[in-house]
């Protein structure tokens, strides 16, 4: 291992690798073995909890992908839900095709909703999705392609800040409207559902669910390392410089457009993979995944955890979604108050999120309160 790679991976950072390993063991060894305990055992992790954890892992991956562009490049995309959903649709299309003749209408190639709409043959863009590897390639390629086009258009004309947020929001909104149409050939309103198997594994079996959970955990770990690699590299330095003073970076001769575009595309790919892992676990993908509200919620996961750190978004996704699961069960009418309040409290009082709380408290103890409110008008 050359010195460059070793530096990039920060192989010497013992504390990081210890923590990373501990979390890995917890997720990949402890949870599955607790799940294997007999039902009724005090420490048993029931199957539904495994699926729930798997879902959270996908959310965490999505949050991580947003943090890469928002936390490190200052690009707040409110359209990451679109990349997530596109990845999910690609995976959903593969699983639809693998149902084959076992659908309600029993057609050999056409999914049920197409038979229902009286379609005679498969549209061209459904071709190839009977192969898992093609679908997997699409999970990566479609979000990457969209991110490339949108990012190229936006970054080239130096659309930054809120304008970029609004454009990406409009993008996911437009996609939502499009996917709601039956004529699009993606199942319209109902989306894709009734999946039977993935790569020949029966999706209703607990073992397969555990497998999907494991895959999500592994993927999150890999993505975490990839992001860490990018952030730690020289390119990561440029990214953060762009976040802090974009025009200065331009004047220094760097191509801010290319660097941001790179981060945006990688981020979209990660979001697409998160969606592809998410859909088999929840068993459905429909256009509401594109809704702007979903994308903006991802931003709050990142903000709660602490943006600009890699650990933050993962913690934030788990914390917010855990609270959501608990509160929508206990007092559903309170959830939106809580979520709304979270948006306000985090932006006003916890600018560095959970991860930054400790530092914030330390500063305060030393008698040097962190300025919560930056007086920067007309900036």
């Amino acid at each position: 291992m050359g010195p460059v790679l070793s530096r990039l991976l920060a192989i010497d950072d013992r504390r990081f690798w210890l923590g990373f390993g501990a979390v890995g063991i917890l997720l990949l060894a402890v949870v599955p073995s607790l799940n294997a305990l007999p039902a009724g055992h005090a420490l048993n992790v029931p199957d539904y909890a495994v699926t729930l954890l798997g879902k959270y892992l996908c959310y965490a991956l999505l949050a991580l992908s947003l943090d890469l562009v928002w936390g490190f490049a200052g690009v707040l995309s409110l359209g990451h839900g679109a990349f997530f959903a596109l990845g999910g649709y690609a995976m959903g299309m593969y699983m639809m095709r693998s149902i084959g003749g076992r659908g309600v209408y029993g057609h050999a190639t056409l999914p049920d909703f197409m038979v229902f709409l009286n379609w005679q043959e498969l549209p061209w863009y459904w071709m190839g999705f009977d192969s898992f590897w093609f679908a997997a390639a699409m999970v990566v390629a479609v979000p990457a392609g969209l991110a490339f086009v949108v990012g190229w258009l936006a970054f080239r004309s130096r659309i930054t800040g809120v304008y970029l947020s609004i454009i990406t929001q409009a993008m996911t909104y437009a996609l939502m409207l499009a996917f709601f149409r039956n004529e699009m050939g993606f199942g319209g309103n109902n989306g894709l559902t009734d999946f039977k198997e993935l790569l020949g594994f029966d999706l209703s079996r607990p073992g397969v669910k555990l497998g999907l959970y494991t895959a999500s955990a592994v993927m999150l770990g890999v993505a975490f390392l990839v992001c860490r690699f990018i952030v730690g590299s020289k390119l990561g330095r440029v990214l953060m410089a762009i976040r802090d003073a974009e025009s200065r970076v331009r004047f220094l001769g760097y191509s801010a457009t290319a660097v941001k575009l790179f981060a945006f595309v990688i981020s979209a790919v990660l979001a697409g993979i998160a969606g592809a892992l998410y859909v088999p676990q929840v068993g459905i993908i429909n256009p509401s995944e594109f809704s702007p509200a979903n994308s903006i919620e991802v931003a709050i996961w990142v903000a709660v955890g602490g943006r600009g750190t890699l650990l933050g978004p993962v913690l934030g996704a788990f914390a917010v979604n855990g609270a959501k699961t608990w509160l929508t069960g206990a007092a559903p009418e309170l959830w939106l108050f809580a979520l709304g309040g979270l948006f306000i409290v985090v932006t006003l009082l916890m600018p560095k999120g959970i991860v930054g709380l400790a530092a914030q408290a330390r500063e305060r103890l030393r008698g040097r309160p962190v300025p919560l409110i930056e007086e920067k008008r007309n900036a």
């Binding site: 130096r158 809120v162 304008y163 409009a170 409207l177 499009a178 709601f180 948006f343 007309n378």
Partner: protein
């Protein structure tokens, strides 16, 4: 009643010769054979005497009795004179189906001479259902006597339509000429098409074809006019939703994701005012609840807006992304608050009577009053805002603070208060928009969500900070949307417009009407 009518009619048509012919024809109704009866009915219809209508109706219903001495009695009164008469030994005048339909036609045509204009108008239309040379003759006579302009038009129209089936080509030609003006009516177009395709006379066929072509052109023009109106109407809705944003986002640069909820609050205030009026106001005042709802909605939304500015946004100036997230949180809370207070179901806000209905233009194009009022209202609100910003002291302060905050403060303008009031103004205008939107759509907690992306698009497209840009952008987006709809469908049209805006911003990142000079570099 019948007696009184008959008497009245007798006074009106007191001409001995006609009276004679009339009683003769009435007497013929009880003739031996059905053929003769039919002839008597036709005669009665041709005489055009309104007195015949009750007699014929009675006959069709079997209430017309014939005494052995030949006199006819209806419900104990003589059929001709209306005097009380004995019905001893009288038998109902027998009828068959052929006779019944003859009676029907006769009654229909006799409606043309009814004293009631509405009845005459109906009859003029009804003759088209059973065209015959007799009805044409009858119509001609009726037109000469007609005094009511609307009924006259209807009669002329029916006569022309009848003429199309006339054996005489000259008559048909005259009919086509007369109908060319009203060729938007689908029934008329059907008649003309038949004529254009299969008339034996080349001249008539040509004239019909020409009339049809003219109709097509005018129909196309009407469709365009209709699309234009609907587009302007949609544009004015967008404009209303976006004006408030043009203040908060455009002038102050604050990304307020709760803007849609300010609109929603305005709509719910309208609902509350309406309920209050229903409970306590006198009946005549019900129609004017909107007048009270306007200031109420403005105040509610403005108050919440000011509270939002002082409580949250103030701390986030210069950090637009955080502002976006915090105000999104506010919007979620406001939605849930309204849902908890009013329930999740749609609330019904009624149009006041002066806003219901509309004017119908030719060819089925309808301008509904609520849409027309909203277009005018949107323009008025924009003009009011522009005037406020241009001429009032508050407007001066607002512009000063946005252009150079430090200098404005140095000149003694309380910048913080101006911020709060400006934000309150923008929010209040959103509330007013809510009053208008409650008149054309559902009032639900999600009302604002549907407008937020669109309004941001309008402001960005028009150019941030430019009221003119907002006006032009909203109207053009509305019209383009409506013109795309027939070709692409509502959703695809919307998608195309969004894509267009995204591409447009590539070319002109600062919108249609970009600000120049000092305020552009804020």
């Amino acid at each position: 009643m019948i007696r009184a009518l008959a008497l009245l009619a007798a006074l009106l048509f007191a001409q001995p010769a006609q009276a004679d012919a009339f009683s003769e024809a009435v007497a013929g109704l009880s003739a031996g054979g059905f053929g003769e009866k039919i002839k008597a009915v036709e005669t009665l219809a041709a005489l055009g005497d309104a007195r015949a209508v009750p007699i014929l109706r009675a006959m069709a219903e079997g209430r017309l009795l014939a005494r052995p001495d030949g006199a006819l009695v209806i419900d104990g009164h003589d059929a001709t004179t209306g005097q009380p008469a004995e019905a001893e030994g009288a038998l109902a005048v027998s009828i068959n189906n052929r006779l019944r339909s003859a009676i029907q036609g006769a009654v229909g045509r006799l409606g043309l001479v009814s004293p009631d204009p509405a009845e005459r108008g109906r009859a003029a239309q009804a003759v088209l259902d059973s065209p015959s040379p007799e009805s044409a003759a009858m119509l001609r006579k009726a037109i000469e006597r007609e005094t009511d302009a609307a009924v006259m038009t209807a009669m002329r129209f029916s006569l022309a339509a009848l003429d199309l089936g006339d054996a005489d080509p000259a008559r048909r030609l005259a009919g086509v000429a007369a109908l060319a003006d009203s060729s938007l009516d689908p029934q008329v177009r059907g008649l003309l098409t038949r004529l254009a395709q299969s008339d034996s006379d080349a001249g008539v066929a040509g004239a019909a074809r020409q009339a049809l072509e003219g109709a097509e052109t005018r129909l196309r023009a009407l469709r365009i006019a209709e699309n234009l109106f609907q587009g302007i109407s949609l544009g004015s809705v967008l404009l209303l939703a976006a004006i408030g944003l043009a203040v908060t986002f455009g002038v102050m640069g604050v990304i307020n994701m709760a803007h849609g909820e300010m609109i929603m609050l305005g709509a719910y205030t309208t609902f509350a005012v309406q309920e209050a009026f229903r409970a306590w106001a006198p009946a005549w005042a019900l129609d004017f609840y909107l007048v009270a709802a306007l200031p109420a909605a403005f105040l509610v939304s403005a108050a919440i807006g000011i509270a939002l500015e002082r409580g949250v946004i103030r701390f986030l100036y210069g950090r637009p992304l955080e502002t976006l997230l915090a105000t999104w949180g506010v919007s979620l809370m406001l939605q849930q608050l309204v849902r908890s207070l009013f329930g999740a179901t749609n609330k019904e806000v009624a149009n006041p009577s002066w806003m219901t209905g509309g004017i119908e233009l030719a060819g089925g194009v309808m301008l509904t009053w609520n849409r027309v009022v909203i277009v005018l209202f949107a323009v008025a609100v924009l003009a009011g805002l522009a005037a406020l910003m241009r001429w009032s002291f508050f407007g001066l302060g607002m512009r000063a603070v946005t252009q150079n905050r430090a200098m404005a403060s140095a000149m003694g303008i309380p910048a913080g208060r101006v911020d709060a009031l400006t934000f309150g103004l923008g929010s209040g205008i959103a509330g007013i928009a809510g009053v208008a939107l409650s008149q054309i759509g559902n009032v639900s907690p999600n009302l604002g969500q549907g407008y937020i992306v669109d309004s941001f698009m309008v402001v960005v497209f028009g150019g941030v900070g430019s009221l003119w840009g907002t006006l032009v952008a909203s109207l053009s987006l509305g019209v383009v949307n409506k013109f795309l709809e027939p070709y692409a469908g509502a959703m695809l049209g919307k998608i195309l417009v969004l894509v267009f805006i995204i591409l447009f911003i590539q070319k002109r990142p600062r919108g249609l009407f970009a600000l120049r000079g000092r305020s552009a570099e804020a």
